[in-house]
Symmetry: C2
Subunit: 322 residues, 2 copies
């Protein structure tokens, strides 16, 4: 059960995330191959010099033969069928994923492939474009990659998955499934909803308004341009956590409207937002080049209490770097 | 009453907008000088080779002597005093402004300087930074610059102001004060509120959440980093129009919450947002380089009905380019 770079990786789904992972692992010398159900994608990936196939059973057979780590890189709605196929053809392979919610993926794996080896993951990277044409081996450079870290997680399997994230150029953020899902509701899924509503209100006003739109509108609505089916899969897959952040968003905006109507003031919402943004910039920087994150220190993966200690330090904003 | 580039321009306020205008007009050969109440700003501008002074009466005396166009480039709350000073010292100078609301500025000028010559304006450009250090002669390159266009506007004065905007590198968008204020509520002021609430909800969740924050949070909250006093002056100065767009925002988010809670669906908000964003990209492009806008055609400024026709074409998304 080695976790060095010679262990093969098999990626199921070659869209933006899966395809970019195929590229960066290949470029870093890891044996890697992928499956995509679209022949056009397979052709494009093959033409670019990568190993790809539209034959799922054959790809999984190869993964079983060479003990590859299998990466689920398809939208949530496509996972049940893929996990069924893994359970049928490559049941002993270590499985991970790159999907934006973690509790639902864990539930699907537990139901469809009980006893399967699984350590979930989620790279925090993306663009509003999608598909093979948008793939980029630099997509994960400096990005945060959540790796699911539960008390019962197998430490060797955890290290294998975490090192794939590191080879892709990302920093590893250990977290429990539920904490991850609440966090991404707040910093990724809710921003998709506020971007969508901001865009709709702006475009609903007039063409003159869109003509006058500048930086605040351009940046604030960018992710509303993401393919709707991808957004919906992501948002609806995290409905419970998202309902909470959405309700808080509505409550805060309602309080802001009342303060503006009754007292002509935007003080609370502007100050809260400004303080929050500064806190974020303190952690991540304000420019395109992120601040180097503080590494997690003094944790031996596999030592007693390792998972809890990794989660604790990650909650302080630190990352695992090996 | 020439409106060529040899007519001097006098800028009151040398923050991001006023200072950037001083730079670009100077660099394009227009005689230009500015006033700022802060000695440090005046010193910085002077050290950079520009003409600036902290003596308002002296600056306005010079403007009266050389028939300069005076540009009000201070926050809304500072305008009454500045307009009083203009009325006292340079009452015959043509006056314009670069403030983000237009009805309130027009009301201040009408009250403090009745009979003064005034054509309002608003360049749609900015960054989340402020002050002289943030000034940039390229700030207005390709930006939209609203120039107030009412039936009673003097055509020569309108041309003078519009040509200053053009010399700064901007496209001119003719519009009525009230249409402008509704438009910027929808595409600039409302986005500041949604950015603020998005930032507050994200930071309120956990430090882990901020650690995982990526592009959607970074871009969607960027303008929440703007100095709170500048945001408040802008937002509260447009309270009536902003209340409408804020209420619409709340209504749309509430409908989205109900649909997510009752049907597990985000279809309406995601599709509306996506359609709106595509409409915007069709007009402005999706990348950093904007699409060249369609020019207003066949309007002679000063001919019968010129102002109405300019506004009509601007409502189709067109711009005036001379």
């Amino acid at each position: 059960m080695s976790h060095d770079s010679s262990r093969p990786v098999c990626i199921l789904g070659l869209g933006l995330i899966g395809g970019s992972l195929l590229r960066v692992l290949h470029d870093s010398g890891t044996p890697v191959y992928g499956y995509n159900r679209s022949a056009a994608t397979v052709e494009a990936a093959t033409a670019d010099g990568y190993q790809a196939s539209a034959d799922l059973t054959a790809v999984l057979g190869r993964a079983a033969d060479d003990d590859a780590v299998i990466v689920l890189a398809a939208p949530l709605f496509a996972l049940p069928d893929l996990v069924d196929a893994v359970a049928a053809t490559a049941p002993r392979c270590l499985l991970t994923d790159v999907v934006s919610v973690k509790e639902k993926v864990s539930a699907i794996v537990a139901e469809r492939h009980p006893g399967g080896r699984f350590v979930g993951g989620h790279p925090m990277a993306g663009t509003s474009r999608s598909g093979w044409a948008a793939t980029d081996p630099e997509l994960f450079a400096g990005a945060m990659w959540m790796v699911a870290t539960a008390d019962q997680t197998d430490p060797e399997d955890w290290l294998t998955v975490a090192r794939i994230a590191r080879r892709a150029g990302a920093f590893v953020v250990p977290a429990a499934d539920d904490a991850h899902d609440r966090a991404v509701a707040a910093i990724s899924h809710n921003p998709h909803l506020t971007a969508a509503v901001t865009a709709a209100v702006g475009a609903g006003e007039s063409r003159l308004a869109l003509r006058l739109a500048a930086g605040s509108f351009r940046d604030g609505t960018r992710v509303a341009g993401t393919a709707p089916e991808l957004q919906r899969a992501m948002l609806e897959g995290n409905a419970t956590a998202l309902l909470n952040t959405l309700s808080e968003t509505i409550d805060r905006l309602t309080a802001a409207r009342d303060a503006l109507r009754d007292h002509g003031s935007t003080e609370v919402i502007v100050d809260d937002g400004h303080r929050a943004r500064l806190l974020y910039e303190e952690l991540a920087g304000s420019g395109p080049a992120p601040i180097s994150p503080t590494p997690i220190s003094d944790v031996q993966v596999g030592a007693p209490g390792w998972a809890e200690e990794l989660r604790r330090q990650a909650h302080l904003g630190r990352v695992w770097t090996d």
